[in-house]
């Protein structure tokens, strides 16, 4: 039985493709974008998230259960020693208040399907479906294939939200079962791309070209972070490249938001070094116009 690691399944997702959707978040991502708002999606393994504000006074169930003595409370402050923690999840299971939560669970394709198709009736009415996101869903290729296959059997619309930084054969193996790709493009300059995401963009650009040429429906998503990739050069280089591909359906502009900030703390990870901000509404409008000038359809928001 094929299994995979997910970190969330969100129902009534309205911004990841058409209609009412369920978005399935795959754990594990090849990129390390400096501004990432889903840092819990990066590692392919389970992780312990700590929300000290939810911790109860006079409750020590986690301390009692932890086999590694990795959890401590000094005063009322809950701490996890990440060196000792082996992410077995015993503390999270014991915690009555959800101050400790294990992120990422390994599930079988049929377990995942049971959740995913709960809202099938809403997909039918709204022209919605399932979106596989992450993390990078294509990294867990056979698990994704299995779920896409099930969607096909049920005639449910499928969307894959990908970073594109995956081996082409993986992408090729799912291509025919995906109705719509949401394809993230961060930066055109390879060096800057490497600086800010940890990987080259060569594979990403090449894969995008192959998908479009292979006839897939692709919406390109540009996450925009002020001062990092919203400059005229990057925007025009991106638009130029997309125009060259010929078949990109639409470009969506996604403004940076600070939602992920608190998550770093909860994972005991260092905050991203930079202070990030979204382009202003006016700047966004300008970017939109620039891209439209290349004959591309542009939407703001997902």
């Amino acid at each position: 039985m094929v299994t995979g690691v997910l970190f969330d399944i969100k129902r009534y997702a309205l911004h990841d493709g058409p209609g009412i959707r369920t978005t399935v978040f795959f754990k594990g991502c090849p990129l390390r974008c400096a501004w990432c708002h889903n840092p819990e999606g990066q590692s392919p393994f389970s992780e312990l998230m700590v929300k000290p504000s939810r911790c109860l006074a006079d409750c020590y169930l986690c301390l009692e259960r932890c086999p590694e003595a990795a959890v401590s409370k000094s005063g009322d402050i809950l701490r996890v020693d990440r060196q000792k923690c082996r992410t077995c999840g015993a503390c999270a299971e014991a915690c009555p208040a959800e101050a400790l939560v294990l992120i990422g669970r390994r599930v079988s394709a049929s377990q995942a399907a049971a959740e995913i198709f709960k809202d099938e009736v809403f997909y039918r009415q709204s022209g919605g479906g399932v979106t596989f996101s992450g993390g990078e869903p294509v990294m867990q290729t056979s698990f994704l294939e299995e779920l896409l296959e099930e969607c096909h059997r049920r005639e449910v619309h499928t969307t894959v939200d990908t970073s594109g930084h995956v081996p082409w054969p993986s992408l090729a193996s799912v291509q025919s079962k995906v109705h719509l790709f949401l394809y993230d493009l961060k930066l055109m300059d390879e060096d800057r791309h490497r600086d800010l995401t940890g990987v080259t963009n060569l594979i990403i650009l090449e894969n995008l070209k192959r998908l479009v040429q292979g006839g897939s429906r692709v919406v390109v998503r540009l996450p925009l972070i002020k001062g990092l990739n919203d400059d005229r050069d990057n925007i025009e280089a991106t638009a130029e490249f997309l125009r060259g591909l010929g078949g990109v359906e639409r470009v969506d502009l996604l403004s940076y938001h600070a939602l992920g900030r608190a998550k770093y703390e909860r994972l005991d990870r260092p905050q991203p070094a930079g202070e990030y901000a979204a382009p202003s509404r006016r700047e966004l409008e300008q970017i939109k116009n620039r891209i439209q000038a290349f004959g591309l359809e542009v939407h703001t928001g997902g």
Binding site: K10, R11, Y12, A13, L14, H15, G19, I20, L56, A57, D58, C59, L61, P96, A97, E98, K118, D119, V121, F122, R124, Q125, S126, G128, L254, S255, H257, A258, L259, R261, A262, A278, G301, G302
Partner: protein, 787 residues
């Protein structure tokens, strides 16, 4: 809205609710000296109405187009001492309570002290009712197991159909005269009763015509004295309208609206009926007048809108009659529950949306008044445009209109044995109650506190608050070896309390039939006139009694908690659980959090909890469904709370799903506040697992923030959400678009607002899960967003 309407609306909003002693004085005067000692009860009531309508003060304010008030002026609210005689203490409470107060002047107080109370004390119907109730009834009532709708307000709960738009009261009187003529005392053993009823109905009909004539006279007098030529002409029109209707059928929109309004006043002057009265499917009734006016050129859209807006204001001028005691708790509001129905199916089953539907939605949006309430019946045949138009109003955070499933209502009615033709003229009234308009007496008889019954079951039939035995002895907590045994005991207790409640209802319904017939209301509801039988005495074609179950979400979660933690995981024994609940979780916060967070909960599309909800639903349904009432009809259930979930919560101790003693219960069929964490689709899936079609109405509330509905696609998806819920036979849903104030509450008390979804940035999330900074940003945004 034009200046006239703006001014009338301002006056309505600013008028202060006051108690008027006028009706109390007139009715006392009548009963003291004018009621004939040999008059039958219906004739006496009809003469009382005639006395009231002949003498009550008239009010015709500057700029008014539609005339008539229940009291001497807007928001002057009469009392009904023959039903409930307010004590001086009641008056003091009404005058001083912080919520929904009514000003009581020293003069009113003196009138009550010197005249009203001495005459009615001990003789009101309320006194008779309480004197007739059994000890088990009284104990259960005082413990808060159920409430009693009829103890101080008359059963009404009915809605008008189209019968007044094609016929005048003169036509009704002609029918009555014909019936009297054909009455055959030789062959009809009920001849006397019928004769008295018809005589009474005739007197009542005449009374309203004379009342309208008084207004015609007043308008003529005012016109004669008026300097402004435009207003002079208007007053002349008002005089003409009032001398035309209700005597004759209306010829135009103005007459149709004024006709209904006189009828409305007739009903709510005769008795203080629950849900006041209701024109029902107003777009269907008015569209022909509108179309004719447009075609003839006698009306344009602006004029029609002005008339409708003037009509709207009349509703807002009539606060619900002052309630006291438990009744004030279960319905703590000024609203008198007139629910205008729009859309749905036409009589031939076709799409019923017309131009008037849209015009009335414009009126709803622009007026933004507490009363009347409005709803849309959404049929699969109605265009999305109609639903979307309604949702655009919803998204402004006004809470109206509420959204109903026309096909579900139809099937509910058919399931209750009504004809297809009648069923198509049905709809919802009050909050969510389904019924046939113009042909049915469907009474809400009281709320039923389901979690309280479980509490009593866990205490072997005792009420832990008083220590008194009020239920059956079904065994102490340690006696239940399995969850099924516990559930069986609960089922028996439910049946027991429904027995007690129905026994009480059977007496109360007869007290109304014998002492408080309603000949005026009987004119309006088929087949009272044809049968010569009063509305309270089974005269209507259909007669339904409802008992409204409350706290289904809380109950389901309690059952899930007990099954999961006590009988399966054996986290603690049932005896230990009961002790923890008795101590209100004192020193047991980790356990309480475990119950709150690590237990299957209704509202998450989780079969574990939802199956228990279904089981609880079936137990309640079986306890109530099909019992005969005193009017030849039957009992059914519906599931709605008004504000009683607050009161019921206050009288219920801590509950096994983690709720502390005294906190509110869940409302309607909504999940426990904050227990649903999977979003609106999961809530709807859970809620749709019960069989809505076997109820007479369910109420589902969903919270949204404005951002989630800000753009067109948000609105489109809301349309899909509603359509899908209705595909699954959901009866009703209302969207509560939350304010910044609510978000602040959520920040303070996250546990209660776990289900609150906000749109962040191309992205939605649970509000309470966001960091404080981001929460604050969204609060600021919500404050500034104005649609």
């Amino acid at each position: 809205m034009n200046d006239r309407i703006r001014e009338l609306r301002r006056q309505s909003l600013e008028a202060r609710p006051v108690i008027s002693a006028e009706r109390a004085l007139l009715i006392t005067e009548f009963y003291r000296g004018l009621a004939g000692p040999t008059d039958s009860a219906p004739v006496k009531r009809a003469l009382a109405l005639k006395h009231l309508l002949a003498r009550k003060s008239l009010y015709l304010g500057p700029g008014e187009l539609i005339v008539g008030e229940r009291g001497p002026e807007p928001k002057a609210t009469p009392t009904y001492p023959e039903l409930t005689c307010h004590s001086l203490q009641d008056l003091d409470i009404l005058d001083s309570r912080p919520k929904t107060p009514f000003f009581v002047s020293p003069e009113t107080r003196a009138i009550y002290r010197d005249t009203i109370i001495p005459f009615w004390k001990g003789h009101s119907l309320r006194d008779k009712i309480f004197a007739e109730m059994s000890a088990p009834w009284t104990k259960a009532y005082q413990a808060g197991v159920f409430t009693e709708f009829m103890e101080q307000r008359a059963p009404g709960h009915t809605v008008l159909d189209d019968k007044i738009y094609g016929r005048g009261f003169e036509d009704f009187r002609r029918d009555i005269a014909r019936n009297l003529e054909l009455l055959d005392p030789l062959r009809d053993p009920e001849a006397l009763r019928k004769r008295e009823q018809w005589r009474a109905m005739d007197i009542a009909a005449e009374a309203l015509v004379l009342y309208a004539e008084r207004y015609a006279g007043l308008a003529r007098d005012l016109a004669a004295a008026e300097k402004d030529p435009r207003r002079k002409e208007e007053l002349g029109r008002i005089a003409e309208v009032c001398s035309r209707v209700p005597r004759h059928a209306p010829r135009n929109l103005w007459e149709a609206l004024q006709y209904y309004w006189f009828v409305h006043l007739g009903v709510i002057t005769e008795l203080n009926t629950w849900d006041s009265f209701n024109p029902g499917r107003l777009d269907h009734h008015l569209d022909p007048f509108y179309q004719r006016g447009l075609a003839e050129g006698s009306l344009d859209r602006d004029k029609a809108q002005e008339l409708l807006q003037a009509f709207w204001i009349k509703f807002n001028n009539q606060p619900a009659p002052p309630k006291v005691g438990v009744t004030a708790e279960e319905s703590a509001t000024y609203t008198d529950f007139c629910l205008i129905n729009l859309g749905g199916l036409a009589e031939d089953g076709a799409d019923g949306v017309n131009e008037m539907s849209y015009l009335l939605l414009d009126v709803v949006e622009e007026m933004r008044l507490l009363q009347p309430s409005s709803m849309v019946q959404v049929s699969r045949k109605n265009p999305d445009r109609f639903l979307k138009r309604a949702l655009r109003i919803v998204r402004t955070g006004y809470g109206q209109p509420s959204i109903f499933n026309a096909e579900a209502i139809l099937q509910e009615m058919l399931g209750q044995g009504k004809s297809l033709k009648d069923a198509r003229s049905g709809g919802a009234s009050g909050c969510v109650e389904a019924g046939i308009f113009g042909k049915e007496n469907y009474n809400l008889t009281g709320y039923f506190n389901l979690p309280k019954v479980l509490e009593i079951t866990l205490h072997d039939g005792l009420d832990p608050r008083s220590g008194k035995r009020i239920g059956l002895a079904t065994g102490g907590p340690e006696s239940f070896a399995s969850f099924d045994q516990l559930f069986e005991a609960f089922r028996r207790q439910v049946r027991h309390f429904v027995d007690v409640k129905v026994a009480g209802n059977n007496i109360i319904e007869r007290l109304y039939a014998e002492h408080m017939p309603a000949p005026f209301l009987s004119l309006l509801i088929d087949d009272c006139l044809e049968r010569g039988r009063d509305y309270h005495d089974g005269g209507a074609r259909y007669n339904t009694s409802y008992i409204q179950g409350v706290g289904l979400g809380t109950l389901s979660d309690c059952l899930a908690s007990l099954k999961y933690h006590v009988f399966e995981k054996k986290t603690l024994s049932l005896g230990e659980m009961v002790k923890v609940l008795q101590a209100d979780f004192q020193g047991q916060e980790p356990l309480r959090q475990l119950l709150l967070n690590k237990t299957p909960k209704y509202g998450n599309d989780d079969d574990y909890a939802d199956d228990l909800m279904k089981r609880a639903f079936e137990a309640y349904y079986e306890a109530v469904e099909g019992r005969p009432n005193t009017k030849g009809g039957a009992y059914h259930i519906n599931l709605l709370p008004t504000t009683v979930h607050i009161y019921f919560g206050r009288v219920t101790g801590a509950t096994a799903e983690g709720r502390k003693a005294g906190e509110p219960l869940s409302e309607g069929i909504s999940p426990v506040q904050g227990a649903d964490r999977q979003g609106p689709t999961a809530v709807m899936k859970s809620a749709a697992k019960m069989d809505h079609l076997r109820t007479g109405g369910t109420l589902l509330n969903q919270k949204f923030t404005p951002q989630l509905l800000a753009d067109e696609s948000g609105l489109d998806n809301l349309v899909h959400l509603v359509r899908t819920y209705f595909q699954m036979d959901g009866h009703h849903v209302q969207f509560n678009v939350v304010s910044a104030e609510t978000l602040r509450q959520a920040q303070k008390d996250p546990q209660k607002y776990r289900d609150l979804i906000v749109r962040v940035a191309g992205y939605s999330d649970y509000f309470v899960d966001l960091g404080e900074t981001l929460q604050n940003e969204i609060i600021r945004r919500t404050e500034h967003d104005s649609f």
